[in-house]
Amino acid sequence: MSGILTLNPLSPQAAAISHLFVDILGVLGGIFLIVLVMVGYAIVRYRDRPGAAPPRQVFGSRKIEIVWTVIPIILLSIIFGFTVRSMHASDPPITPGTTPDLRVVAHQWWWEADYLKSGVIAANEIHIPVGQRWLLELDSADVIHDFWVAELARKIDMVPGHPNHIWLEADRPGTYLGVCAEFCGNEHAWMRFRVIAESAADFDRWQRAQLQVPPKPSGSEAAAGLKLFEQNTCVNCHTILGTPGNQSIGPDLTHFASRTTLAAGAADNTNANLYRWLKDPNSIKPDTHMPNFQFDDADAKALTAYLETLK
């Protein structure tokens, strides 16, 4: 069951949808069975047999028509009532003027997470404290995307020029898979993210660590990597605190090594994958906006070493 994310809710909001889903599946399944039995009975019972009498010419019955019009109307009215009720439970209204806790900005094809109260800027991995209901503001830097963590909340579009808001919370610590659910261009498939729910203490520790400016790397290879980062056009797109890089066209890399995946879920964040990514980004995520810098082996290794120091 746990693989069926829409039926495995881990927040009150997702649970409201999931319970409704199970009920509706039961009702719809019941109606389907009725139709199936009706059709099945007809094709067995009324199959043409040799010598059967010519069928009586029946043109209809107003009474029966009224019955099978009214019953569905009653049934749908009940379903409609449950729909409205669970809309409120699964997407609770937001008091105007509430300040969001987190602003998520979708880019082709990665996620930026701005913690509005602490100033942390993360990418592709969203940490939240368990059991707290956070208000998210959702925005897009380019085309329409969609924020969807099936186990935690409804999906909602991220529309340029039209910020949306939803509540996000998790009942239990854990890692929840998120994905862009609106077609957004070539790498729509690899626009995945993770929501990591952790205890308040762990979350505070994470948040404090994320606010640190990374120390200058000590090893000579990593130091060479930092130099490459500063001298190449990396700084035109990426931010690393303590370096000239301060742009948000690509993900903030200040604490890159603390993340579990690379390129919005396209690969695990390992030394080998990072090296491959720097040598040829298209081999991991075809059509990514990350350019191929034609780094030679030594440079790619140095950059890998540097980026892996950014815990």
Binding site: R62, V143, L177
Partner: protein
Amino acid sequence: MNHVLAPGMEGTAPEFAAQEGLLSWVASVDHKQIGIMYLLGAFVFFGVGGIEALLMRVQLALPNNHFLSPDTFNQLFTMHGTTMIFLVLMPMLTGLTVYLVPLMIGARDMAFPRLNALSFWIQIFGGIVLYFSFFDGGAPNAGWFSYTPLSEKTFSSLPGQDYWLLGLFAIGIGTVAGAINVIVTVIDLRAPGMSLRRLPLFVWMGFVNSWLMVMALPILNGALVMLLIDRELNAHFFTPEAGGSVILWQHYFWAFGHPEVYIMILPAFGIISEVIPTFSGKPIFGYGFVAASTVAIAFLSLSVWAHHMFAVGLGHLWDVFFGASSMAIAVPTGVKIFNWTATMYGGRLRFTTSMMFAVAFLVMFTIGGLSGVSFAVVPLDWQLTDTYYLVAHLHYVLFGGTVFALFAGIYYWFPKITGRMLSEHWGKLNFWSTFIGFNMTFLIQHLLGMMGMPRRVWTYPALPYWGSFNLLSTIGAFVLLFSMLVFIWNVFISLHEGALAGDNPWGGWTLEWATSSPPPTDNFDRVPPISGRRPLWDLAHPELADELVGRAE
């Protein structure tokens, strides 16, 4: 069939029979030839769209697959959707409508034969413009819905998107022209005695559907022009940074797009409403309710569009309204299912291939209709939209519904159109392989969507069961390929060796069965007298004529 003199018919069809060979088709204004050309053209595109689907299924057979590049995959799903909707389902249904409506109402041709030819050729021209994009930088790749701003020049700079806009624009003009022609034909050219309450249901559905086309297609064409102006003349209808609105495009697109879904299913309802009564040996149960529910569906379909936009964040009030209207449309749809089923009760069911497709339609379309209700339940839509659950839903409606109905219709009317019967032997193989292949491909996709697989992804991570379920779906797609090859073989072999059909091989009651197979150029010398909904039944059973027996409804 003893033809009876009917009151004289006014007007004659234009005489173009002097042409020969290919020219007799290209220059034709005969509704039967144009109908056949619609069907053939649509079938060619059906092959193309099917190959596009197969390539996508091969790419998705395994996780992390690199058989296709993301760009190619996106071109394929854009072209697959656009092709199947605008170049396959619509023209196939239009082809049957154009072929059958004049025959069924006892007319010699459409009201405007030249406009009929023009509609067809504009539609083909639009298809060619769309496919020419492959030779000029690549096909469009922003999806058949082409959401802004992704489809704007900033994000889709290649001309493929412009070919898409221009191609659909042409198709829209052809479609509206064809629809007006059907409306005028039904209003004006009915044979004496053929009152609106006696129209065959296929004609009713085609008539209502044509009104829907006239109302819906211009919305699309307007939006297409606006996007084209944005792209080519730097306007800002849909660019938010200059004050435009990206959501506006969605409103326009779905205000067309949801009626469009019914445009693709109403004529299919019409086919089922002819096939099931004939092979049950009984008249349709609740004629008035089947016709009226069609009108209800058409009206309601104009007020449900934003259920495609529940995830946009329009606000709960909008969502509640469109959720309610979408649920309401389930009622008249359900009425139809019940009436078709009731028609079979007490009948003598002949399980020809046509009837098997029609009965399978009842069950498959019910699955698609019910999963559709789950999208009207707004919170479920918030979870399920844009996932494979939706892909499964729409294919149960458009394949399990429309395509199954089309096969029922083709097996039913092929003898009329060609004069020869399709082989029942190959037909049964065609049916069972389609039925098995279709369910194998799409049933599992409900589950994939519930598991969290979004649609329109060119590949996916190796999460538990995702690979094996997708592989199963891909194998199903190849079973479907096999079934289509069987169909092509059946058509080929039956055209050469099929049994001669005669005027009325199935014992049908509507007027198309009163003339020869294939019908002569001007359809009828005289039509039988029409004093009820089933003229040929009345002719064969004068003592049991519908008017005498009366109607219980």
